[in-house]
């Protein structure tokens, strides 16, 4: 499978995704309207607690639902110069957490420097890991590196059975993921008392919403232990966002309208008040600033007078900024909510 960009698919262009999301013929109640009725309009940041750095779109996998449209055929990656700007911002501020994502962030040559610098500055570091990357010959020492720096690993595993995981992430990915978890468990990850956190991410393999987090976590814990002898700390459930490759899937399979309807019907004001953009600042591979990784993929940078590039970072102008919202935001506010840390209520 190739990225939408490589296929020259019209939906590779963020503007085309926004056109679909805002198409009056397919219109659902406006998200801003929903916010208004919950007394949350305009949505604003409550203070930056997480600096999420997306180091680029290069990935060793090409998952069908990827909101980044990542893959081996993408070459947009963060340079040392931009990485250094991110670390300079970290040094000037007290932002406690650095969340490194991609693509497969570990494939970026700046990844290890970002980790060691963030740790030197005493910050908590998270690596959004696709697991299979740990088995690449070039990444043989990755597990040891992550353990050495006590990096929290947040790893995608959409289901505890191979057929479902592979249907979304590619043939053979489930077996590789289990092997990688075993490797991480061997280093102490996911084991109580080790201080090495391994959290898994469930997301639905299709056009439906995620189950209650606690119940599916219990299923994962039981099944992964019994079938594969592997352990983890927590499971986060994340809703698939109606953008990029998942949007392409929804449209191609004639599921778009029903899925949007489901998201809109499941709008939950409590989830809306806890959306992750309120405490996150997202940096793109080229240094542009966004309210979240989803806005980043839709080419919707921070606005309303906030500085739009990491080189122009001013804490006070970003800390309480107004957030750029759209119809895709319904993906974060359905049911128990969804963010990079799972449910939000």
């Amino acid at each position: 499978m190739q990225s939408l960009l490589r296929q020259q698919h019209p939906l590779a262009v963020p503007g085309e995704q926004l056109r679909v999301l805002n198409d009056p013929a397919l219109a659902h109640r406006s998200f801003d309207d929903a916010l208004e009725r919950s007394g949350l309009h305009p949505l604003t940041s409550t203070g930056i607690e997480v600096l999420q750095i997306n180091v680029g779109k290069l990935c060793n996998q090409t998952c069908k639902h990827c909101h980044v449209d990542a893959g081996p055929d993408r070459n947009e990656v963060m340079t040392r110069e931009t990485a250094a700007l991110c670390m300079a911002v970290l040094e000037q501020t007290e932002i406690p957490t650095v969340d490194i994502t991609g693509g497969a962030p570990e494939l970026n040559p700046q990844f290890r420097w970002l980790v060691s610098e963030s740790k030197r500055l005493g910050r908590h570091v998270m690596d959004r890991c696709n697991l299979s990357v740990l088995l690449l010959p070039s990444q043989k020492d990755l597990g040891t590196f992550l353990a050495h720096y006590q990096v929290e690993v947040v790893a995608s595993l959409p289901y505890f059975m191979a057929a479902y995981t592979d249907a979304q992430r590619g043939e053979g990915v489930f077996d590789k993921s289990i092997e990688a978890i075993r490797l991480l468990n061997g280093l102490g990850y996911g084991r109580e008392g080790s201080g090495l956190e391994l959290n898994l991410v469930y997301n639905p393999v299709g056009a439906f919403l995620p189950p209650p987090q606690a119940s599916i976590e219990a299923d994962f814990r039981r099944e992964l232990l019994v079938r594969h002898g592997v352990v983890f700390n927590s499971l986060y459930t994340i809703t698939n966002m109606p953008i990029s490759r998942f949007l392409e899937f929804l449209l191609r399979t004639d599921n778009y309208d029903r899925y949007m309807q489901k998201l809109v019907q499941a709008y939950n004001p409590a989830a809306a008040s806890g959306v992750m953009c309120r405490n996150t600042l997202s940096v793109g591979w080229d240094g542009v600033l966004y309210d979240c990784d989803f806005n980043q993929m839709l080419d919707l940078p921070v606005s309303f007078g906030a500085p739009v590039h990491i080189r122009d970072f001013v804490h006070d102008r970003l800390d309480q900024r107004r957030i750029v919202t759209g119809q895709h935001c319904y993906g974060c506010t359905a049911g128990a909510g969804s963010g990079c840390g799972g449910t939000t209520v």
């Binding site: 289901y159 059975m161 479902y164 639905p204 299709g206 439906f208 209650p212 119940s215 309807q261």
Partner: protein, 110 residues
């Protein structure tokens, strides 16, 4: 009307509240309470609902509870087994009535 059943009608279920709102409200409250987490988990209840939907052969319920089962984290192996349970009971229920046939035959026969 091209068919008695229409997918879009599922979303219109609430219209059944129009001429008997109090009864509808009672039904809604009771229905909601039935599916809450209890001695059985929501996921188990959803699988039972899926099985019953097949037994009563209601296309609306099959649609709704297929989605709900997936949304509760069940997989197609579990859902298929639930349908087999419904089918086994249906099949068994027919077969066990064969005893009535045998009883009647016995009574009439010399």
């Amino acid at each position: 009307m091209s068919s008695y059943y229409h997918e879009d009608d599922l979303a219109r279920f609430g219209e059944m509240g129009k001429n008997a709102p109090e009864l509808w409200e009672k039904f809604q409250d009771w229905y909601g309470a039935v599916f809450e987490e209890g001695a059985l988990s929501q996921r188990e209840k959803s699988l039972i609902a899926l099985a019953v939907a097949h037994a009563v052969q209601c296309p609306y319920c099959i649609d709704a509870y297929t989605q709900d089962c997936l949304q509760k984290g069940s997989n197609l192996d579990q859902m298929t087994e639930a349908v087999h349970v419904a089918s086994a009971i249906r099949g068994g229920a027919s077969l066990v009535h064969g005893l009535q046939m045998r009883n009647v035959t016995q009574k009439l026969s010399m």
